[in-house]
Structure formats: C-alpha cells, structure tokens
C-alpha cells in the first residue's frame, strides 16, 4: 500500500467526518443543584425555552423569567428559583444531557413532555397544581397532557390559526365578504387573480410547515391525519377530495406557484408586502404583517371549510412539567400557582403573541378584535397526533413531500399513509 494513498485516504476521511460533526453542539452545563441552602431555603432549578429573539434582546426569555422570579421571590422569601433559558434548537439536547447525568431541573418548560413520563421522572399534575388552576385549564388541552389517563404535562401556552385577508386587494377585486366556504374562496381567488394579484391564496406546503397548512385544509373537509378511532387516515377519501380541490386551485394559478417549495415565512412576507390576497396565519404573524405594507388593511376570520367556516383550528401547545427527583412538590406548586394566577401568564402571551391555555386567560383577551377568531376556535382546537410515536417520522416525510399532493393527491397521500403504517 502506497503511503501517499494512505495519507490521501486519511485526508479524505478528515474532510468527510469534519463535515459531519458540524451540527453537533450543546454543552450541558447543569450547574450544581444547591438544594437546601440552610434555614429552610429551597432552590428550584428551572429550564425554559426562549420565545424571544435570543440573549440580550429586549424580549429575551431570560429577561422575562428574571422579572417573574424576582416578583415571586418577593412574595415567597423561602424559595429561590434559578432559571436557565435555552434556545429552541438546543433545549432538547441539553435537557437530555441533564437527565442522563442524573441532574434534571425541578421545572422544565418546553415543547414536549411525553418522553419523560415513561421513565417515571415527572410529578403528576395534581401534585404540583392547586385544584383551581387545574380546573381553569382548557379541557381539550389538558387532555393531551395525560399518559394512560394520568396528567403529567401541564399546558403552558398555545397558538392557533385563522384566515388573514387583505382588505385593500379584496375591495380592488370587488370581493365584498371574506369567504366562508371553499367555493366562495375559489371564486374570490379568481376575482383577485383577474384584478392582477399574483398570489390570490398563499399556500405554503414547503418544508417549514407543510404539516400545518395541509392539516388546516383537511379539517375543512372533516378529515385529518387520523380518523375518529385513532387510526392513521392520511389517504382517507375526504383528504383525497381536499387535495383534489387544492390541485384545481393550483392548476388555475390561484395560489402561490409550486406550493410544495414555499415556506410559510416567505408567504407571510409576501402577504406583508401586499402581494397575497389571503393566507392562513396565526397570532405570531400579526407583528410581521403590522411591520409591512398591509398594516391596518387586513382582516382575520375563521378558516373556510368545504361547506362553512371551521369551528375548530390547528392548535399547537407547549408544556411545563415538574421533575420529582429533588422532591419539592409544595414549592413547585407555589410557583405554578403564582404563574397561572398572577400577571405572568398574561404577560408572556402579550409579549410573544401567544395564546392562553386557561379559560380565564381567554376571558381577559376577549376584547381584542384581531385575536377573536383564534380565541373562538381555541377551546375546540384540533392537534397533530404528536403523542403517536410514529408522528415524528411521518411529520418529517409530510414536510418534504406533502407539496406533491397538489399534483397527484391519491398517490402522495397513499405513500404518506404507508410510512405511517409501516413497522
């Protein structure tokens, strides 16, 4: 064997492997859990995800939590709370490291809880929530926090979707009312197109969030990813019909071109620039639209379904949970009660344009005209089947290929169904 060839092979290996470890990161600095600092003092360690624009920004999560904790500690001098805020990309990895090292936080706020239940790491919700708070949580949301009938995950904040439409373009095209049914939607889109609007309906079926846009359309025809009995039903006749309708829209040039390659971010930016007639969006799109050319020129209504507006919507929620390792349920309960009954829960909703998960929270926001369609649909929201272990794989596949369903509905939906049913 030639020495140079060995050298070349090693150099080659270096290029390949160096390239492959670029994405790894995350140093779990879990810090010591200084449990009881004497005198009955209890320190709770909390890890939370950052809803803001990152460290140092005026809306950073660390700043939000520091303020909440300062208020809480004033009211409860015997309890200290140490909050570590981690961005969404790293939080799962870092928490996994903490758990593996036997140093889980006492409180964790993130996007999923179910992985920890199996290993018996969590307090039951009833151990750390007072009954008043527990009853205030929206039933449909709390239901998803249960594993085998016992609640572990506590809904933290949520988000939902509704239809945004550009009033100026609607007037220009002579569309009097925002659509309530698919037929009205198609007719409105045709008028918008005739009036020179390049994207009458913004349809992001690209990788960023194809699973959301597709789901909203499925709901409009009584479909979904699973049927009522909990079986995968991605290629149900209703869903095929839904995408056949969308295919008609796409073929007629009434949507974003090549929807399977468009991310929601792009479509929302185009909407903000006044190039899109209608698009599905959430409370989080309001700041984007308000920063663009369409400020005060758009309306929000319930999403049209095949025969009438949806009485449900896509709900997405995040969770808060308590780990039982350090056994501080009483102190955690005080903190949770403080969060849900005090100003903090409302503040986080206002600050980050999220939606509440409590009945009282919805009550407080009911005066907001733009949020009304979201709040109306929220108690009856529909969710991804995220408790199904297959979902992450199905979801990945949906993100990549769902866009093809507007060309060949039966084939693409059938392939996705096969992925869901495999293994």
């Amino acid at each position: 064997m030639n020495k140079k060839l060995v050298g070349a092979a090693l150099g080659l290996a270096a290029t390949v492997t160096l390239a492959s470890c670029g994405s790894g990161s995350g140093t779990g600095t879990a810090g010591d859990s200084g449990d009881k600092a004497g005198g009955g003092q209890v320190t709770l360690k909390m890890v939370a995800a950052d809803y803001g624009d990152g460290p140092g920004k005026p809306n950073s999560g660390q700043k939000f939590w520091d303020e909440v904790v300062a208020e809480f500690e004033k009211a409860n001098p015997a309890i200290n709370v140490e909050v570590t805020v981690i961005n969404w990309n790293d939080i799962d990895k870092q928490v996994a490291t903490m758990v593996q090292n036997g140093q889980p936080p006492d409180i964790l706020q993130t996007g999923d809880y179910s992985g920890f239940v199996k290993d018996g790491l969590l307090h039951k919700a009833e151990e750390v929530l007072s009954p008043g708070v527990q009853q205030d949580l929206l039933e449909k949301f709390a239901e998803f926090g249960k594993v085998d009938g016992v609640a572990y995950g506590i809904p933290f904040v949520s988000s939902a979707r509704a239809l945004f439409y550009n009033k100026e373009l609607f007037t220009k095209a002579g569309v009097a009312e925002p659509p309530k049914t698919w037929d009205e939607l198609k007719a409105a889109a045709q008028k918008l197109k005739d009036a020179g609007v390049s994207q009458p309906f913004g349809l992001p079926l690209g990788q960023e969030e194809a699973q959301a846009e597709a789901f909203l359309w499925m709901l409009g025809n009584g479909g979904g990813y699973k049927d009522a009995s909990g079986k995968w039903a991605i290629n149900s006749p209703q869903n095929v019909e839904t995408f056949t309708f969308l295919k008609g829209m796409v073929d007629a040039g009434l949507t974003t071109p090549n929807p399977g390659t468009k991310d929601r971010k792009t479509v929302w930016e185009d909407f903000a620039a006044g190039k899109v007639g209608m698009a599905n969006g959430g409370p989080m799109s309001i700041p984007i639209f308000d920063a663009g050319a369409v400020k005060d020129k758009y309306g929000v209504v319930a999403i049209p379904g095949k025969t009438g507006p949806l009485d449900t919507t896509l709900g997405v929620m995040d969770w808060i949970m308590a780990f039982n390792k350090n056994n501080h349920p009483e102190e955690i309960k005080k903190f949770f009660d403080y969060f849900y009954t005090g100003p903090a829960a409302q503040k986080i909703v206002d600050l980050y344009k999220l939606l509440p998960v409590t009945k009282s929270g919805i009550q407080k926001l009911s005066g907001d005209e733009k949020l009304k369609p979201f709040l109306d649909a929220l108690p009856n929201a529909s969710f991804y089947p995220f408790t199904d272990p297959k979902w992450s794989e199905v979801n990945t596949q949906i993100k990549q290929t769902m866009g093809g369903a507007v060309q060949d509905p039966a084939k693409v939906l059938g392939e996705l169904q096969k992925v869901a049913e495999a293994g």
């Binding site: 270096a14 492959s20 399977g260 596949q397 990549q400 290929t401 093809g404």
Partner: protein, 306 residues
C-alpha cells in the same frame, strides 16, 4: 531510544487524527447498526435494519443517481471554466491585479451567504433576476411586439414562470451554477499555481519546433498541469459530493426530494430516524471513497503526482 524519537514528533498528529478522524468514523459506523430514539437515546442493536430501511426508501435510488450527476456536472464545469480562466489570468493585461482580486470574492464569501443571495435574486415576487427578465420582457413586447414568454422572459412577476427554484428542471441548473460559481476561484488559483511551475524553456523549444498554439496547449501545458489539475479536481469531487449549504439554502431538496443529494437526504433523515441517517452517512462515506478511487485510477495519480 533513538529509534523511538520520530514517534515524539509524529505522535501528536497521530493522536489528533485518531481523535478527530478515526474515532468519529468508527462512531458513525457503529451508530448505523443501532436503534436510536429521536431524543438520541440508544435503544439497542438494530442489526442491518437501518440499511434495509434506507435501501427500501422509494427515493433512495434517484437520490444516489442525482448525487453522482451533481458531482460530475459541477466538477466538470468547474474544471473546464477554471482551465480557461487560469489561462487568461496567466497572461499580462492591464488590470490583471484587480481581476485576480475580483475572482477571490466568491471564494471569500461564505457559501451559505452566496446561496441565500442567489435565492433572493431568484425570488418570484421581488428577485432582481426576475425583475430584469420582466423589464426585458416589457421591452421586447413594446418595441417588437413579441410575446416575452416565447423568449423565456416574463410578462409579470410572481407567477409560475418566475419561480425557477420551484421546479426541479429549472432549479437544478441554478444549483449547479451556484456550486460552480463558488468552486471556480479555488480551482483557478490551484491551476494558476500549476501554470507558474511550467518552465518557459519548454514553450520556447516548442515554438522553435514550430508547434501550433493548440498543439502546445494539448501536448505541453495540459500534461505538465496534470498534478495541479488532479489535486484541484480531487478536492472538488469531495467537496461537491458533501456539499450541503447551497442546496439546503436554496431548495431544501424540494419539491419532494427532487433536488436532494445524498448529503441532504442524510440530514433530513436525522429528524426522523438517527440510525437510518447514520446508515446514509456510511453509504455516503463509501461513495466518496469509491468516487475518489475511480478518479485516482483514471487520472493515474501515482505516476503523476509523485
């Protein structure tokens, strides 16, 4: 004792290579035989199941074929263009210094940034390339009365025709273009360095023998350039095969998997099945070695680069 002395010098490098090269390779191969949860928890051995699942993916064959075409197209075009550019920059002409500096720009800029800039330039609603196509379209329509669409120009922004990254048939050429654009500077400089090593006496001798310019290039320049050419092309083959940012930033491998190469596929799989993704990495690794071996065989590396 004297015998061990070289080890003290080579040792640290060997340790470094073992730590940052060999160990990750071993880990990668090991992971490809494990069942790993999406939280990254190893759930036990998985035999060949990861590979079976990977090979059964309906897009797998297409992706592998596309990866090879991608490498051949990008490296081939890069080398051809660089050969011409190197020849040009080897001449003396006014402004050569500026031109040489300008050539570095695409190389100096981050690849990801370049890809994003091209994605923006191709945006169907506001991209500058499409604005030019539309303005030219308006011009030919107004002056010559020609339908702009018949010339590949636009009559309006925002439609299907303006969305070149939305379809594989038009997106792929753009991806290749950007990949060539960022690979050309390095390759050209490598070839320029090669050209500088060719002694001028050889050219003088050729001229005295009355060789034509083409003949001189074919029989003197190219053979003497071969070591530089081989190294430049080899580095490009490996780089382009593992190229990730260009495709990811511009199309994410979409629509479907129609613009995905194996590296993109590996990354997408990481979201759903880490074991299968590791299997894809191993296949990728093997592909690079095979491609490189073929390349070295073809270019007769041992005789020429020694």
């Amino acid at each position: 004792m004297k015998k061990l002395e070289p080890l003290a010098w080579v040792g640290p490098a060997v340790v470094l290579i073992a730590a940052v090269v060999i160990w990750p390779v071993v880990e990668m191969i090991r992971s490809s035989f494990l069942k790993i949860s999406r939280f990254g928890v190893v759930q036990g051995p998985n035999g060949l199941a990861n590979y079976e699942k990977l090979f059964a993916e309906k897009d797998f064959a297409d992706i592998m074929v596309r990866s090879v075409i991608w490498v051949v197209a990008v490296v081939g075009l890069t080398v051809l263009i660089s050969l011409a550019l190197a020849q040009l920059f080897n001449q003396r002409f006014p402004g050569r210094k500026v031109a040489r500096w300008a050539l570095i720009a695409p190389w100096a800029a981050s690849v990801l940034m370049t890809a994003i800039v091209f994605k923006w330039m191709l945006d169907p609603e506001v991209g500058v390339i499409n604005l030019i196509r539309r303005d030219l379209g308006t011009f030919v329509h107004d002056v010559f009365g020609v339908d702009p669409r018949s010339l590949g120009l636009l009559s309006a922004m925002g439609g299907e025709a303006a969305d070149q990254l939305g379809q594989a048939s038009t997106a792929m050429p753009w991806l290749v273009f950007v990949a060539v654009f960022v690979s050309v500077p390095f390759t050209t400089y490598a070839l320029l360095a090669g050209l500088a090593t060719i002694p001028s006496e050889v050219y003088e001798a050729a001229r005295m023998d009355g060789a034509s310019r083409l003949r001189t290039y074919w029989s003197i320049t190219l053979p003497l350039l071969r070591p530089a050419l081989t190294v430049a092309a080899l580095i490009n083959v490996m780089n382009v095969f593992n190229s990730f940012p260009i495709i990811w930033a511009m199309t994410r491998g979409q629509p479907g998997y129609d613009t995905a190469t194996s590296t993109i596929f590996m990354y997408i799989l990481k979201n759903s099945d880490i074991g299968e993704s590791a299997a894809m990495s191993v296949v990728n690794f093997g592909m690079v070695i095979v491609l490189t071996a073929i390349f070295l065989k073809v270019s007769r590396w041992k005789q020429e680069v020694a």
